[in-house]
């Protein structure tokens, strides 16, 4: 229900982060995440960074499958 996009934080200013998702840049609110810094990765939804994340989904999936098998 909520299109989310992983994005990299480029710059921070006044509680707002400019993020980059594969070249699409936009200012989003960093209000919900403490100590966000350029270089961090976040999950963005509707103009707000909802979570700090790791860059890639691969490792996680890999780990889960490993665990399982």
């Amino acid at each position: 229900m909520c299109v989310g996009l992983p994005a990299k934080v480029m710059t921070m200013k006044d509680g707002m982060a400019v993020v980059d998702a594969s070249g699409a840049k936009r200012e989003v609110s960093a209000e919900l995440i403490e100590n966000l810094e350029p270089g961090d990765y976040v999950m963005v939804h509707a103009g707000i960074a909802i979570a700090k994340i790791t860059e890639e989904d691969e490792d996680e999936a890999e780990d889960l499958l490993e665990e399982l098998l």
Binding site: M1, C2, V3, G4, R26, V28, S29, E31, L32, I33, E34, M43, H45, A46, G47, I48, I50, A51, I53, T54, D57, E58, E60, A61, E62, L64, L65, L68, L69
Partner: protein, 351 residues
């Protein structure tokens, strides 16, 4: 195809366990599952049910009626996500209102609606605040910013919803729930764990990439035959156990629970959020004294049953005939994430 995808796919295609009903609660999951063609690789024993997790689909007609009324009778500028533009109200959609001269502005974020209001002080601006736990913080934030900026021309028309009530209502509709990763990023996993432990409802939280979705299916198809209720967070890079404390706080600061009407499902107690008394200046219903709307929906529409997994979209008599994405009758046909729309677009054109 990547190695890891291949592995997951092999597990799914090789499933030979007992029949299992899986409900993806989230519209984005519905959409991605169709987009990737996941249904095509599921073995026959796996039944996939598309749940009520598209905010557009569960938004009742009278909400659209209220927005149309604001646009046409009160000359209010409506800011909205694109998703809502074509949703049928009782007689008009927002697209219809726009073609009659109503000002309908699409935005990417509630914050953009706030910015618009700030730059157009001569207009009254209302943001259509729909969405689940993921989206609500952004709406609250826009109100907070409007208050700080001293705006008197900004308000929300709220139809925000929360998932717990729906989980409760749907708990018998499926064997395993695919939980929406982005909701859980805000709420954390406590409730899902509790459902698992106390009510024996299995579920798995996952993300939205091919890799994440296939992995989730692989995991659930491995776990299900074991016969024990399970809960797995397959999205730990985004979802933490406690969720987003700042987001939870923000919501609590500005909004309070209320009963809420779900299109198709009816009234669910405490399943909605509305602005608190202290923020009533930003509540469009209060500000504009919106009259009570009698939302009328087509009697033919079986959205309710579809959302509860009681029937397939194709079981609806008007599916693909009177009701198509270009001329939707029910809300499930409007959003790309609606179950009927996804069925129509990806599966069968009902011919």
């Amino acid at each position: 195809m990547k190695e890891q995808l291949k592995k997951a796919k092999a597990i799914i295609e090789g499933y030979d366990g007992p029949p299992v009903r899986v409900m993806e609660v989230c519209g984005t999951h519905t959409h991605e599952i169709f987009h990737l063609g996941v249904r095509k690789i599921l073995p026959q024993q796996v039944e996939l049910i598309s749940g009520p997790g598209c905010p557009v689909c569960v938004t009742p007609a009278d909400f659209i009626d209220e927005a149309v009324w604001l646009a046409l009778e009160k000359n209010v500028t409506i800011c909205t996500f694109g998703d809502l533009v074509r949703v049928p109200g009782s007689t008009k959609s927002l697209a219809d209102a726009r073609s009659l001269g109503g000002k309908i502005q699409m935005v990417y974020s509630p914050m953009d609606a706030f910015e618009y209001a700030k730059e157009h002080k001569e207009e009254q601006v209302v943001f259509l605040s729909v969405g689940f736990e993921t989206t609500t913080p952004a709406s609250c934030l826009s109100v907070k910013m409007a208050k700080e900026a001293g705006l008197t021309n900004y308000a929300l028309l709220t139809a925000n919803k929360t998932m717990p009530g729906a989980y409760e209502m749907l708990k018998n509709s499926a064997d395993v729930f695919l939980y929406p990763g982005h909701v859980n990023a805000i709420t954390g996993n406590a409730l899902n764990k509790k459902l698992c432990e106390e009510e024996g409802i299995s579920g798995i939280v996952t993300g939205f990439t091919a890799s994440e979705i296939l992995t989730a299916f692989a995991v659930l198809l491995k776990k299900f035959p074991e016969g024990k209720p399970f809960f797995v967070n397959a999205y730990p890079r985004v979802v933490t156990e406690e969720g987003s404390i700042p987001a939870q706080k923000l919501i609590k600061e500005w909004m309070e629970p209320c009963d809420s009407q779900w299109r198709g499902l009816g009234m669910i107690k405490n399943s909605g959020l509305r602005l608190r008394k202290e923020a009533q200046d930003f509540d469009a219903r209060v500000k504009f004294s919106i009259p009570k709307m009698e939302g009328r929906t087509s009697p033919a529409c079986r959205c309710g049953d579809v959302l509860q997994g009681k029937c397939l979209p194709t079981d609806c008599k008007v599916f693909g005939k009177g009701c198509t994405p270009l001329h939707p009758i029910g809300a499930c046909m409007v959003s790309n994430e609606g179950a009927c729309s996804a069925y129509y677009q990806y599966n069968s054109r009902g011919e």
